[in-house]
Each structure stands twice: as structure tokens, then as C-alpha cells.
Symmetry: C2
Subunit: 434 residues, 2 copies
């Protein structure tokens, strides 16, 4: 099997065989396939596409590039949640403790922020002492004791994905439903979970900008999961403006704690409850979605979910006192308030723009090797649809450095639009589920 | 300018700017653009195509990666001929001395054979002592003294092409009208010629298998040449069966000498006369094509062209006595005759199959680093359209090694078809000229 022949077949629009796909992934993993051949094939895949069968084979080959975690010796149903990434998208820190408090086991491997989107690991590390670099043995122990582990992807999980992603990032081959699907699902399938709920974001701040594309991605992800024996559902949720009010690592954890205390913004609660309830149904903790939602709300109201978050933090070396003492989080000393330039309705608070502003402050990273500042970020004081008067505070920026503030302000201001009439926004939850 | 942004633009079907194309070619030439980015862009170009404007810019950038030879201090019109490659395609060794004998200057840089197609340099090197590795100074001196230089591409000519071609060969990105056009024309434009006649082969043994594709390639090549100030014409000629009767390096040179002595096969004469006559018209040696053809035939009949070939050979270190003493060529001791399996008409003598048989004998190369045997090859005794009786000799194979003969025989036999009725063949010269 010659790599160039595989490349030519895909270039000419033919479907690849299972063996050809496995040959490609093995070559990438072992380093025997030169990068220039891998990138030519990736480009051919981006332009010509892959059938659902090819995508499933690609996922399978990527799973097989590493180990498939065996969680069979731990009693209980293992269910994970995964989001395609957004701005202010902090549901993992709510969903995981609630689901665990309701009786699921949650082995959640997450990523770091890149570009305008945040990452769960960066948020967790805003908690003083919290360690995300658990080994697989530590992950299993965490599941057995506190019902949840929140960690980074270990080197044994789908190593082909890491190599492929690094190449895709620099060769213009990120934007492919097939490649994105295989990347996401290979890591989730390798976790050894029984079920998975996906949160596919749609809108300016999401990976997919239109609902049609988001639906295609959702369908692809769900099809791969179910074909691999992982019961999978996807919810399409809005990402045209930030989810909740906080954007920035420590600020977002604080907001999650608010939700677990019974407060917090309505959109964040709605998405978190929806995702967790679906996990409970897939995991057979609840017979139907109504019952599941009642259980989720009860776990929050009773304080059981908050207590569970405390145990998760403690179990991974973090300081659980942050739950009641927000001052223990890293804090940026400086504040700047962005005010409404005119009276009217907020018609736009562009998620990507706000995300880029938070990166400018230092809360996120443009390149994988950048470090993030856990303290800085933005608080959204007024959301799209709100009526505001000229001079009214819209955003509160937490910053350390004046030059960074200026860059962030330019981006934040450009992200806001105020008009005489309110404009339609995406529904927080799309009407259909995949 | 980020390489990944250029890749993404072409991936999404946009035209690249002159600056973007120059950035790409410079990066490839200097080695500052990683191969994996170059190959991703090449694949995007193959699939999305390039406009004629982009192709012209690509050619220009490839010319500018090296030097543009200045032949201005040599009096006379410099005209070259280039073929897209075929089997038994030996016209250069006829065209060059005839054109020089008629008063043109012919600075002909050629290539080596690869795959089933032969290369002029390999044929020239079948002449004992003939050196093709002339410097640019030696080339100029040859033009000034014998009116013709036949040499390999020097390192100063379009170095980007050599790097790009090596990458295209292993990444499935050879088959692109734009990339092929830029590769051919950058080298020809850099030669410093005034005019160029292209022989675009069509059929199984050519680079382009259909006349429509050959026409598209011809139009692209002609458009680039004329836009760069090189008067360019293209003739589309048949390559469904070998041109002439000889396939193999020494055998082909012997056949060219026959033509220059007034003999030789009709198809080879027709193509050679056509190409040379067009060179004379473009080079203003002749007022029209009829007059040009008379001059070409006169140069052959008078012996002037043969005499010129002798001077070219002598000037490049070769033994000109081969012209009258064919035994001075390297010769393979063994002969094998392939006979007609039945009585009927030859309906097919597949050029690619015969070319592959000659490679199997050692006359060509599968890989750039292979060496060729100048002596081995095939003589086509009967051509498509001929009526034959069972047992009548069809091919004479000149070989050295029994195992190679067996491999060649299998290929040669598969290339022949005999039927009750003659089948239509491609016209030697297509009716239209580009």
C-alpha cells in the first residue's frame, strides 16, 4: 500500500477503505508517514469529504492508536459530556458534580482554551492547587471515591489525534466535519464511557457558525458514538453571545459555584440542566427527561452538587474553601467598566469578539504554548435583548495591564451593538436534538 | 502573510494574489516554507484549480526563482521545441538539427525519461561521448558556433520547479493543468528564447489521455508563453501508439539519423516536419507554413540537417561517426521477435504498454535515481492499421537479460490487439492548432 496512491484516491473523490485509513493513521502515529504526505491527504479529505463509514473507520483507527480505557471494574454507569467549545462555556464545572451527585460516574477528559474559545482545564487550574494531570490509575481512583475525575487527555489516549491536530492547525485542514468528528469522538470513545452527551455550539463564537453546519457535525458525532457502542446524544446550543455572564477562568468558576448554590444566569442554568438531565436518562438514572430534570434541580437545591464539587476539588489537590471564599481565587486588581454609548436595545454581544477580548487580556491563548492568567476576564452586565440607557455599565473588565486593556477594549467595543429595537437572537437551546 | 491563510484561501476556492503565489514559491525555493504546508497548498491547487492569471503568476514566480538566460548578445532568433512526453517520441533529435540548418538558433534544454515516457537526454547519451551537462556559457558558445545546444536543465534554471516536482511526485499532486503548465513554461521562459513550439501528446502514452485535456493543457501553455513575451504555438499529436518504430535510446537515435538521411517512418516524419516548420514561421525564417515545410524538406534532402547533427554531436564531445556507422552505438546482443497470434488487423499497439515494456528491458526508469541501458529497446515492425498473418513478426525486442525479457514480453503482448477489422486510431496530427 503506497501512501501516494491513497492520497490520489481521496483527491479524485473516492472513498478510502478501512485498511487505507488505518495505514494512514498508523503512519502518522509511528512517524513513518512523512508530514508532507499526511498534509496532502488531510487537504484532500477536507475538500472531498468522507462518508460516515470512512469517518467511523478514521475514528476507530485513531482510538486504536492508543489505549481504550477499561472502566469495567468500577461499578456504575460512566457518562461524559463534551462541548465543541465556546465563550463563557463553563457547563462542565456544573454538569460534572451534578451528574456525580445524581449517581453517575463522570470520567471527564477536557482540553485547554485556544483562540477565542476557553478550555475546562484552564478554568479548573484557576482553583488554587487543583491538578488536572491525573494518571489513568488516579482517574479510576477518583471515579471510585468521588464519582468524578476532571483531567487532561493522557498521552495514551488517541495519540494520533495530537499529531494530526498539530498538522491540521498549520496546514489549513481544521475545517472538516469528518476530521473534527474523528478527533472529538476518538478521545471520548477511548475514555471507556457508556454514554455521552454532546453540546454542539452554533453561532459566531462556536466552531460551526450556522445551525445547518452544527447539525451536520452533531449528526456525524452521534452516528460515530452509537456505532462504537457509546450511547450518544447531541444538543445544539447558542453561541452567538457568551454563555452566562463570566468570561475568564476564575470568574467562570465563581459563576459555576453561584449556579450550584441556586443562583446564576438563566441561560447557563438552562444549558447545564439540559445536558445533565440527558446524561441521567442515557445513564438510566432517570426514566425520562422530566424526571431527570427534577433530579438535577434537586441536587442543586439540596446542596448535594455543591458538596460534590467540593469533594472533587479536594480529591484533585485543590483548595475547596474557594467555594465559600471567592477571595481565595486569583484576582486582578484593576477594573474598567464599558458603558453604553447610547440608549436602546443590545442587539449584539458577539461571542467571538468577547472571546478575543478575553484572550487580549491574557485569559486565553493564541498559541498552544502561551500561558494564561487565571484572574483576568470580563463580566457581562447586560445581555443581548436588554434595554439600556446611555452611560449604563455593560461590561466589567478585570485586568492587570493597561496595554492589554486597550487591546481588549477595542475588541469588546466592536463586539457590542445597540439599536432602537431588539434584534432576534439564537434560542439558547435549539428545538431539535440529534 | 501567513502560509496557512494562503492555503485556506485556495482550499476555499478563492484565487490567490500575485504576492501570495510569490510568497509560496520563494518559501519553497529557500526552504523556509515547510514541505507539509507546501503539499497542502499543492493539493488545494490540484482540486480547486488556478485561473490563467494565477497560473501566469505561478510561472513568473518559478522563473524568478532562478536566472533568466540572456541570449541577447548572440545574433539570431532563438526558438525551442518542447514535447509533453511520449513513447518513441524522438522528434527533438530531428527538429533541432533541421531548425539549426535552416538558420534558427536552438537552445534546447530537455529532461530524462521517467515512467513509460522517454527523455531526450537519455537518447543523446546513447551517442558515445555525448555530454549533456553543458554550462550556460558552453550553451551560448554552442549556439554561436553550431546554432544548437542540447543539454539538461542547469541548476540556475527555475530551481523552484525541481523542489516542487519532487514534492508533487510523492503527494499525489502531479495532475494539475496549472502546475504542469507552470513547470513546463517556467523552464522554457528562463531559457531566454524568442519563440516556442509545443508538442502536446494525447492518448494512452501521453500525459493527457484525452484530446479535450490535451487541448486544455495546450491552451494553458500557449497563453502563458505569449503573456511572457515568448511567441508560442502548440500542436496536438497522437500518442495512442509509439511514434515511429524505435523505442529505446540508441534505437531511437538510429531512427532519427534515418529520417535525416531521407528515410524513416511516415508518422515520425510528419510530426517532425510539422513542428520544425512552425518553428521557422514563428522565428521569421519562412513567411508561411508551406514555405517553411519546403525549407525543412530541403534541409533534409540536401544533407544539411544531417551535417548539422554531426556538428552538434562533435561540439558536445560525441562520436559523429555514429551517423554512418550504427555499429558504434551500444548494442544488445540478444533479439526476440514477437509474432502475430492470429491473422487480422492490428487494432491496438498501446503506447503506455510498449513504454512500460521498454522500461522493463532497462531502457527507461521507474525512479529518478535508476540508470538506463542505452542499447535495449523494441522495434515496432507492424503498426496499428496494418494487416498481418498469424506468425508474422510484430516486434523485435533487443535485450540483454532473460528475466527482463520475460517481464517486457508480458507487457508488450498485453499492449497488442488484433481483430477482424481495422479500428479507428487518433490522427497523427490533430486538426486544430492552439
Amino acid at each position: 500500500m503506497r501512501a501516494v496512491d491513497i492520497i490520489i484516491r481521496k483527491r479524485d473523490g473516492y472513498a478510502l477503505t478501512r485498511e487505507e485509513i488505518a495505514h494512514f493513521v498508523t503512519g502518522v502515529t509511528e512517524g513513518s508517514l512523512p508530514d508532507y504526505q499526511a498534509s496532502a491527504l488531510l487537504m484532500a479529505i477536507v475538500v472531498r469529504g468522507m462518508s460516515s463509514e470512512e469517518t467511523a473507520w478514521l475514528t476507530e483507527a485513531m482510538v486504536d492508536s492508543g489505549i481504550r480505557v477499561d472502566l469495567g471494574d468500577i461499578d456504575g454507569v460512566k457518562v461524559d459530556k463534551h462541548s465543541t467549545g465556546g465563550v463563557g462555556d463553563k457547563t462542565s464545572l456544573i454538569v460534572a458534580p451534578v451528574a456525580a451527585a445524581c449517581g453517575l460516574l463522570v470520567p471527564m477528559m477536557s482540553g485547554r482554551g485556544l483562540g477565542h474559545t476557553g478550555g475546562t482545564l484552564d478554568k479548573l487550574e484557576a482553583i488554587p492547587g487543583f491538578r488536572v494531570d491525573l494518571s489513568l490509575e488516579q482517574m479510576k481512583a477518583a471515579l471510585a471515591t468521588v464519582g468524578c475525575a476532571m483531567l487532561g487527555q493522557t498521552a495514551q489516549i488517541a495519540p494520533a489525534d495530537k499529531k494530526l491536530y498539530a498538522l491540521r492547525d498549520v496546514t489549513g485542514t481544521v475545517e472538516s466535519i469528518a476530521l473534527i468528528s474523528a478527533s472529538i469522538m476518538s478521545k471520548k470513545i477511548a475514555e471507556g464511557i457508556d454514554a455521552l452527551v454532546l453540546d454542539v455550539k452554533t453561532g459566531s463564537g462556536g466552531f460551526m457558525k450556522t445551525e445547518a453546519d452544527s447539525r451536520r457535525l452533531a449528526e456525524s458525532l452521534v452516528s460515530i458514538g452509537n456505532a462504537s457502542g457509546v450511547k450518544t446524544e447531541a444538543v445544539i446550543t447558542a453561541m452567538d453571545s457568551p454563555l452566562g455572564r463570566a468570561v475568564g477562568n476564575a470568574l467562570e468558576v465563581i459563576e459555576c459555584i453561584e449556579v450550584l448554590k441556586g443562583g446564576g444566569p438563566a441561560d447557563l442554568i438552562a444549558v447545564s440542566v439540559e445536558l445533565t438531565a440527558r446524561m441521567l436518562v442515557l445513564g438510566r438514572i432517570a426514566p425520562d427527561k422530566d424526571d431527570a430534570e427534577r433530579r438535577v434541580r434537586a441536587a442543586i437545591q439540596s446542596g448535594a452538587a455543591l458538596e460534590r464539587l467540593g469533594r472533587i476539588i479536594e480529591n484533585q489537590g485543590g483548595d475547596r474553601r474557594v467555594i465559600d471564599e471567592a477571595s481565595r481565587f486569583p484576582t486582578a486588581a484593576e477594573r474598567h467598566v464599558v458603558k453604553a454609548s447610547r440608549t436602546g436595545f443590545i442587539t449584539r454581544l458577539d461571542a467571538e469578539g468577547v472571546g478575543r477580548a478575553s484572550v487580549a487580556l491574557g485569559a486565553g491563548r493564541d498559541r498552544v504554548e502561551d500561558t494564561v492568567d487565571p484572574a483576568v476576564g470580563l463580566l457581562v452586565l447586560r445581555k443581548p435583548g436588554d434595554q439600556v440607557s446611555a452611560g449604563e455599565p455593560l461590561l466589567e473588565i478585570h485586568y492587570r495591564d493597561g496595554a492589554r486593556l486597550e487591546a481588549a477594549l477595542a475588541l469588546a467595543r466592536a463586539a457590542i451593538a445597540i439599536d432602537d429595537r431588539p434584534a432576534p437572537a439564537l434560542p439558547v437551546l435549539a428545538s431539535e436534538v440529534v
